[in-house]
Amino acid sequence: MDHIRTPKVENVRWLDRLTPRRIAVGTLYLSSTHTIFVENSDARKETWVLHSLVGSVERLAGTPAGCPLLVRCKNFQVFQLLLPQERDCADVYASLAHLSRPERYGDLYCFSFQPNLDKEERERAWNFLDLLADFSRMGIPSNLWHATPANHEYRVCDTYPSELFVPKSASPAVIVGSAKFRSRGRFPVLSYYHRDTSAAVCRSSQPLSGFSARSLEDEQMLQAIMKSNPASEYVYVVDTRPKLNAMANRAAGKGYESEDHYSNIRLHFVAIDNIHVMRSSQQKLADVGDLRSPSMGDFLWGLENSGWLKHIKAVLDAGVFIAKAVAEEGVSVLVHCSDGWDRTAQACSVASVLLDPYYRTLKGFMVLMEKDWVSFGHKFSHRYAHLDGDPREVSPVLDQFLECVWQLMEQFPCAFEFNERFLLQLHTHVHSCQYGNFIGNSQKERKELRIRERTHSVWHHLWENRVEFINPLYRVDHNQTQGVLRPVTTPYCFKFWKNMYSPVERGVAMRLSDCLNAVREESQQLEEELDAHQEVPRETDAEQGIHTPTKHACLETTLALYPHATVPSHTHKLGQPSNICPPFLKNPRVLKLVTPP
């Protein structure tokens, strides 16, 4: 453990930023994968923080009480550590800074994470989802669409999966020619086939059209897509970029399809901003969630200023447009952005969720994630900074998709088989690198990393714990469960995703401190009385729910008590490496987890 100079520090204070008056004292352990805090209290409450979830560590100015470290997690949890010794603080800082930014894939947690599964079980877990089965579930007519071997061995496009579906009338020459005319060879392929109308959702990257270039094969490819939907006379080309950005790309020899060259297409721009805009927007949003005691005005202003909900609306609107075209007009759609792995993935998967009730089930949603995101080469490792790399590649693209689904769940409480907790858990796992599913940037890369042999699959794990993720209001025969979902996207339908962006708020404690602070300003004497008072309740109410029993606890409190992380099912594996395994494994009930083990 070269990077862990101080594996254990005693008398550390742990502070949640939103409840600064509640301080736990305990011992801090550093393992190669987790930071573990064990409280000195009788309950020996444990908090585990996976290093790969740590977004940033910051050293704050020292105080007489100790040296503070501020840790921000990628799932928006924030906590502060107060270490008694300057030297320990520097050591822990250096270790965390290093451990949270691995440089090689081999250093990621998934390669050392060993749940209790034998080789066969592991393989079965990896085979839990079957994408080809999903394509046949869609009811693709074999006379119009077929699987092409063109990309076996990733010959045509190294960021696409090897199995692809294309119009049957598209010859190999058309495929290859079209791929040459598309950014990174990402030619138009089938993403979703809508049986009711025979219309399809296809995806690609932008064409290399520049100002005048054209490709006969690419034009034929679009023609083939149209022909595979016998009833329709045109195809929508949905460019998910703002039109100005798309035009700017033409100067670089890229761009969008010209309606002059492609007969029978209708171009439609949906104006989703690029990854850099989204990154800074989310940062502003997280800052809003982080505010300590904002007024309602501060909060709403911050929400508006972040622009976040505007972007969420744009993504949802793109999905709604596609779903309408497919389900109501019966017209096939080709979706692309620049490279076709960010905004395209968002728009296609939102449309799929709207179009097909199967994708609103727990397993169906996993399939959709695996199809539109994992297999089609969404760059997980780049976007979610699994490795130390270019910060300009990082962007909350998947976060936005998950949030669109959450916004839909808020609007249609009975439509989804899974609940919010599932989305939050999924979000955490995309960042945690505990399972292999989201490692790397393409199927090819995962194959080279031998992910299936060396790591475990998260889908099976989530499925095994599905009882926690089931929405009780979901019923197969409910009308919200049936058919196409038609959401209202008026701005008032969009809400701040509190449990994502303000995950540590404790309702009771927060309110108390608000009141107390205000009272203090007016009455010094009252403060002293209250101080004497609050010693007792503060220890109990927020932490053990004694003040208010679970079921009556304010929801905020409940969420704090039962965080979205699952209670460990493989606890005995947690403490590795064993040489610094802290002495608490007899107490497997980990109350507060930043990551699920």
Partner: protein
């Protein structure tokens, strides 16, 4: 129908009227104007739609007519509107209701349209209380001899034995001569006689001297309310008022006065003869100021919010800035925070509290009733909540007649309108959302109350005080809404299927992230609210199914949680955040 009403009705019936309602296809039928209602019947043999709209619930009416004699085509005619008749003119009436619903009637014939519009204008704003519909509403299943109201101060006193050694019932106001807006009986400290009370009353605005409104059983602390003391510019004092407050607490105790005005407002009030309790004269009372908006500011806030919700723009920035600009959620926030502070003083710190602002009829009641919801499990039951409203709003003299004269759409010049009661319902909804099991009633009840406070078949929210109600014989001549809602077949519509009583206080989170727009009210007539209704039905189905499966086991009173895995309840509670 009396002569007065018929004077207002020049055209009682119009055929071929097209009605456009939110979320429904346009309907064609006959519109009929009666003394208190608009009746629309679809012209269809079977399953025809009928609309019965209480005229009192009309907040604003907009009419436009076209006289296009000689033109065969009517370019502005909307879809579904086909002119019949040969009058060559038509008109459209848009009705904006106090419950925020908007309907439109397309009426053939300009004259008919204008007649109907002027009838609606006149009949929706009748001045005399006794002309209003509650005085005519006579459903077969109710009898006027049934009790009116749920409880009285006498009953409240009689039921709280532990009050008896320090508090007494006073009839000093039996003729409403001491305080026009108080009920005949009030609960006051035993040590204070009626003469002292009368003197203290003369020192308080509108005679609203401090009275008890809540007794906290676990520690004997109380919440009282009053209006501001009339200290004036030269700091008058009143021994009797001081004695009254001193008698409410022990020598050794400290009480808190929560003033719902800012310190500056309280200072300024002295110039107008009002004021605040000076520390020098009220030794054992500590004053805290919590500024709550009131009156016109609150009404304008409501108007802005409703305007924002009706804005069809797709621009997110515009919506968020309008939402912020309306300040409605800030008012909800302040109301809950202040009530939380009162509750905290009582429960956590063991102090008695006096709440007042200016008149003590609006923000004061908002704070005292919310504090009771937080503290008192009894007020969270169906009956208990209605009793709370009766005690703290109806009997305590909230001037419903002025405050709820108009809602958010009215073009009339604002007079004394103020949605303080609506704000209470909103804050209660926030409590219910944060504690899905704690309230025995559901959002549906809050919506019903929001509607009836502005226009009702029942007499409960008529008038502004008990005195007025007595003078107009409201209790003798109208039915009581609360009694009606408690009837078994009604009650079922309004209860929360997940309710489980708890003896504990429910401390709401007032972090801005925890407070939400009450979509059930403000987006009630949109598709958005529809799916919420479906979800609510689904919860009912789940609960009923569970009760069915439990019955064979012989459990008469089963609850969801007891027979369900822990996780399932957790999951259900998560879902409830949206409802």
């Amino acid at each position: 129908m009396t002569m007065e009403f018929s004077e207002h009705i020049k055209t009682a019936n119009v055929d071929d009227v097209v009605l456009k309602l939110p979320l429904r296809p346009a309907l064609k039928g006959t519109l009929c104007v009666t003394a208190h209602h608009l009746v629309f019947s679809e012209r269809k043999e079977e399953g025809s739609y009928q609309l019965l709209l209480l005229l009192r619930s009309v907040d604003a009416i907009e009419k436009s007519v076209e006289n296009l004699l000689g033109y065969p085509q009517y370019p502005s005619a909307g879809p579904g509107q086909r002119m019949t008749g040969l009058s060559g003119s038509s008109g459209t009436i848009v009705i904006k209701c106090k419950d925020l619903r908007i309907l439109q009637f397309d009426i053939p014939g300009m004259e008919e349209c204008l007649n109907v519009a002027s009838s609606i204008e006149a009949l929706s704003s009748l001045e005399s209380v006794t002309e209003l519909y509650p005085f005519f509403h006579r459903p077969r299943e109710l009898s006027l001899s049934e009790p009116w109201g749920l409880s009285s101060p006498q009953q409240q006193y009689a039921q709280t034995e532990r009050l008896w050694d320090r508090w007494r019932l006073s009839k000093v106001n039996r003729n409403f001569s001491v305080c026009m807006s108080y009920p005949r009986t009030v609960i006051v400290p035993c040590a204070i006689d009626d003469i002292t009370l009368a003197k203290a009353a003369s020192f308080r605005q509108g005679g609203r001297f401090p009275v008890l409104c809540y007794y906290h059983r676990s520690n004997g602390m109380v919440i009282m309310r009053s209006s501001q003391p009339m200290t004036g510019a030269n700091r008058k004092r009143c021994r009797e008022d001081e004695l009254l407050l001193q008698a409410a607490i022990d020598e050794s105790e400290m009480g808190y006065i929560i003033d719902t005005r800012s310190a500056q407002q309280a200072q300024q009030a002295r110039m107008a003869g009002g004021g605040f309790e000076s520390k020098a004269f009220y030794h054992h009372w500590r004053r805290l100021h919590r500024h709550l908006e009131r009156g016109k500011v609150l009404q304008e806030s409501l108007i802005k919010l409703v305007e924002a919700c009706g804005d069809p723009s797709q621009n997110m920035d515009r919506w968020l800035s309008k939402l912020e600009n309306s300040k409605w959620l800030s008012h909800v926030h302040s109301a809950l925070s202040t009530a939380g502070l009162v509750a905290e003083c009582v429960e956590r710190d063991g102090h008695s509290v006096l709440v007042h602002g200016f008149e003590g009829t609006d923000t004061t009641l908002l704070v005292t009733s919310l504090a009771q919801l937080i503290l008192d499990p009894a007020s969270r039951t169906f009956r208990g909540f209605l009793q709370l409203l009766e005690r703290e709003w109806v009997q305590a003299g909230h001037p419903f007649r002025q405050r709820c004269a108009h809602s958010a759409h009215s073009h009339a010049r604002l007079r004394q309108e103020c949605p303080a009661f609506l704000l209470l319902l909103d804050a209660t909804w926030q409590l219910g959302r944060q504690f899905p099991l704690a309230l025995e009633f559901s959002e549906v009840l809050l919506l019903r109350l929001a509607q009836d406070a502005y226009a009702s078949d029942y007499g409960t929210f008529l008038c502004s005080s008990e005195q007025e109600r007595c003078a107009l014989q409201v209790k003798e001549n109208t039915h009581c809404l609360f009694q009606f809602l408690l009837r078994r077949e009604e009650r079922e519509k309004y209860v929360n299927p997940l309710y489980e009583a708890t003896d504990l206080a429910i401390w709401p989170s007032v972090h801005p992230q925890s407070l939400q727009l009450w979509t059930g009210l403000f987006l009630r007539w949109t598709e958005y609210a529809q799916t919420m209704d479906e979800a609510r039905e689904e919860i009912w189905t789940i609960v009923k199914e569970r009760k069915e499966t439990d019955r064979p086991k012989g459990c008469a009173h089963t609850t969801l949680s007891r027979h369900d895995s822990f996780t399932n309840v957790e999951n259900l509670m998560d879902e409830l955040t949206v409802l």
